[in-house]
Symmetry: D2
């Protein structure tokens, strides 16, 4: 009889709960992690709402850290890790061996968005234990001077937010607009600063997010509920537009604003998830230079892998970024259903709730 | 009384003719070229139809070569050129000094698409003489072993077509689809070969263009009137899609097909002019990976400047590309109205008509 | 009692022979290949001479193709390959999981030059069977329309030669000098053409190599025994130097010539192995612009992995390159000692000897 | 009779003085600036010592700001500037029109290092007035909220220092070692932080420079007089070496240390001027991976142009960098000989002396 654990699952579209599941076992290249801290992500809210179709009793969660519980034989043979060691695991866990991984697009492992395995094509990490494929590449040791909570922010928030800036081709001293200052937009703001931006403009309307935008490095925050964001950006850039516009919301309207706010030769870097029913996302034709304006549109999905995780954790250790201001709420895993319910409504100004395990 | 010349002008939207104009004079940084050979471009057909708004007696044309007739004083001071020398001038003539030029986006000189001056913000080159701004950077000496006709193809056809491939991030041996095999699409095909593509797929339905597509380097040509191009590309690439899709038509539908035909991590390189009345060009949401598929969209306008022109002419001299198969018709300048009329209808399988001057 | 096979080994520095060894077995992520065709590489001559230190009865060889004989359990689980399938294996077999692999420098797997495992840190492939680590990423299926001999050229010759050109930052129509036209230099020449070079200058003095240089795409071949190569390159480029100089020999003197022959802003791309006793390789100070000339020096080791191998094989299938002109001699595996002996002296104009297995 | 001005000149190698010269006049594309503030650079000390050969009564200086005194007719025609306007001018003043400028290597304008015109091929800026070629591209308006002193630091210190980091291919959170923490090394340190480095290691032994290194962003400063710098860097990076090593001294020994301290796949970014008598700069052969370690060596010369200057000044305005801690001494122009003398000996801990004009 296999040992069991508690797991927070999506029973079906719109229906969650905590159930008992067998503790997963490690195949030759796998690891099993005992969870110590996790964060809830809005993606899971989308998933529960049906964004990726129906699932049955699938464990949710993809931002988690813990200690190594079991290592597969081929992982043990590499002698890089040992049971009991603290590790962080990125939300995206590529195989690093397939065509797309070899091409350098590991988030597209095996096919479009295929690096996203947790709470998509296998159980996620919002459970007492979780399974990690291709552990050699996906387990990132947590330095002693980093808390579990700090490390958990590297799994998705820092990796995705910073990616948007890294994709932005920001010249040193350049100008960046970050549309939406939710947790990922805020980390994109930090990312823009880390890429050398000389002017970072946040676009937001929720007061506590506007305040955090300033704290995390926006030089200016535009309240789009009070003025037209594109016009304001044009004013702030002498009519030129920004070098880089980051879409951190996932709205076709915001995406169009990004294209309009970007100068010729600039980059629109998308990190938002464009869900919904529409068949298309719109590029405004004229502001795109009728297809000849040297405006580049980049996209991407949270880059995974331990090597990047180590660099992200180093940035926290070194004091370059303090993600803890994103933690607005804290819960024990026993309270996960309550926490998730609040995340669905974003009530009480919730940004990121931290879930701790025994 | 200034000397006069014949110029082929757009009197107003839809109305062309040949008129007398004063031979232009050179300011300190300018040159005046006596035209020897020119090509008609479909862009001028669009311009005449009103694509860039009304114009009055503006000389058309932007693909021309000739001999230096006059040099401005600051140009003479550089001692790089002499009157009587054969030169080619790119369709795009940036100042190379403004912000966008310094950033490396010289086609966006002074503002979006601002490098495009001929037959847009000043008289074009379909005249016995034409004016060249910033001549030091824009006059490209024609090597002795190149004909005027060959050189004329560098002004726009090679520069723009190759640009699409250069923007494509094609891995060596990679796969490329070029949608539409008109003159620019054909040169994009050559460009894809010059960037190391291992599989070049042309998409076309006009028989003589399909034949030229093969001649210019397509490994396969898909007749989109007989089969779905995206499905055919998927079949040819083992279900993966191409590394790079080049849009060489300027149609929202074709652009969408490009996004669909491109693999995750691949690039959609647009060279088509997206005119028309629609407010937007559509990105198919799902095939774009809901904004996270690592698909990049690049755009651009014919890159100008003498340095590039010299490299393009070298490729003809060295036998890497023979553009002359694009010349389907030849006319004297006295027959320009007839030639332009045929270009409007593309009758008689016209691709590029060469216009020669006395 | 394990089944045995014949293997061509380095008994010790300077001493080779054929011995019986057990057929290797596959761990969970491995594959065992039954060899069908192989090429001898000059690197093995260096190895035998002591370049990487002493070895005892190590099987030589790293350019080989064959059929799958055994697959490890984790490889079988991916269901990508089956026993009996024809595959090519790159000379470099990275794990694709470690830090350097994740960074995109898979040839430096686990540490400097660590992707080079065959005939370095484990037995090579000049045997009836050979072992492949991390098989999911390192086995490349050979298309039906490619012979074993053609595929074998992808293992090192095409991969390394083309790499040198890919590292060269060659502008379309740009100029390239390839110093030395041995097998790798010749493939660098092909690579330069595949990267769009408009002028490819070969530097060589051996007549049959000079002839092949022309065949493989050099526009000009400089016989450095008759004239100074750098001066000749300067003359051919109007005193500017080439955009890219490729060092395909591994000589400090040739490396210095590359720096001298490269224009400011150009790239020196090294593929040569710089062995020998000297502590340093010299950069000529003045021609390097006293450290400020915007000249970039790139280096690299044969890039491995199946994804690249598939692209390289596609280039042969598509007729972009025909490597078979490099095969100057053919031998049965029973004659391996004779073949290797000739490779040591390069007698009879030997470039690449093909070894076939029963 | 032309108006005259005071100019600080190099009479001959080793001999300086202040003399009267005519105020320069503007050709069509030029501007004349009335100097308000300037900095002395160690380059001028090298120049005086004969580094670029003999000069006669050449005005020294290349880091200066001022107000527009005269504009050439072609500059006036652009209507971008007006007499009396405050402007900064980069040390490097490319034409932005020649081949190398068009290629994006404007510091190599017209030939190797040719963008360097001040105090090299024409009079420098350490005078009451100075001449600026190609003024449209080289005059950068100083924002109202920036002092002349702040702006003067953009002319060379920020531009060159940051360039070294921009060339470094620093991954976000990556590790950087900056060898030597003089004024340029300190700005390279700031640059490394602006490029997202997670660990910046300074190498220095002079106490006040070590203190500034910490202030400007080094996480660790290694005193190379007390320990081996390469060994210390290896220890700090877990034996791997840094992603990027910046050479900010111009010593062959330091350059070799940079190669040794860099991990495979990393970049050595040189900004130091490698003068002296030696014919070569040495690459340590083994630590360079015998030419196959994927280590890249970049070089460059202070990037010029107004577009970059505007971005650099924005970084000061926005508080990203405060260069004023580099100003250790202040002088009136009347005291220039004393100031220059101290710069030659670096006595009294001199880093940068500010020279102000009436």
């Amino acid at each position: 009889m296999p040992a069991t654990m508690k797991a927070f699952v999506m029973h079906a579209i719109g229906k969650v709960g905590v159930i008992d599941k067998p503790i997963p076992r490690a195949g030759p290249n796998d690891a099993i992690i005992r969870t110590t801290a996790a964060l809830i992500c809005t993606s899971d809210v989308h998933t529960l709402a049906g964004a990726i179709g129906p699932r049955t009793d699938m464990t949710l969660g993809h931002e988690a850290v813990g200690v190594i519980h079991e290592l597969g034989e081929a992982v043990r043979a590499r002698e890089m890790f040992k049971v009991g060691q603290r590790v962080a695991v990125n939300a995206i866990t590529p195989c690093f061996a397939c065509d797309n991984c070899q091409r350098g697009y590991s988030s597209q492992c095996g096919g479009m968005l295929g690096g996203w395995k947790f709470a998509n094509i296998k159980d996620g990490s919002m459970a007492e234990y979780f399974h990690v494929n291709d552990a050699v590449a996906n387990l990132a040791p947590i330095p002693d001077d980093l808390t579990d909570e700090q490390a958990a922010y590297c799994c998705d928030m820092l990796s995705t937010g910073f990616m948007a800036a890294e994709h932005g081709n920001i010249p040193v001293g350049g100008s960046v607009a970050v549309f939406a200052q939710g947790p990922l937009g805020l980390m994109a703001t930090v990312g823009a600063r880390l890429q050398g931006a000389g002017l970072v403009i946040g676009v937001e309307s929720v007061p506590n997010r506007m305040a955090l935008a300033k704290k995390y490095g926006c030089d200016v925050v535009i309240d789009f509920s009070k003025q037209d964001a594109v016009e304001a950006i044009m004013r702030l850039t002498g009519g030129k537009g920004v070098d880089t516009a980051i879409e951190a919301l996932g709205s076709s309207k915001t995406f169009a604003a990004c294209v309009k706010a970007t100068r010729p030769g600039g980059t629109i870097s998308n990190l938002g998830y464009h869900g919904g029913e529409d068949e298309s996302v719109q590029i405004p034709r004229k502001e795109w230079g009728v297809g000849m304006g040297d405006k580049t549109i980049r996209t991407g999905l949270c880059p995974g892998g331990s090597e990047r995780m180590v660099r992200l954790m180093r940035l926290i250790t070194a004091g370059r970024v303090d993600p803890l201001a994103l933690t607005t709420h804290r819960f024990r895993f026993a309270e996960i259903e309550k926490a998730f319910g609040m995340m669905q409504t974003k009530e009480d100004g919730m940004l990121k709730p931290l879930i701790t395990f025994a």
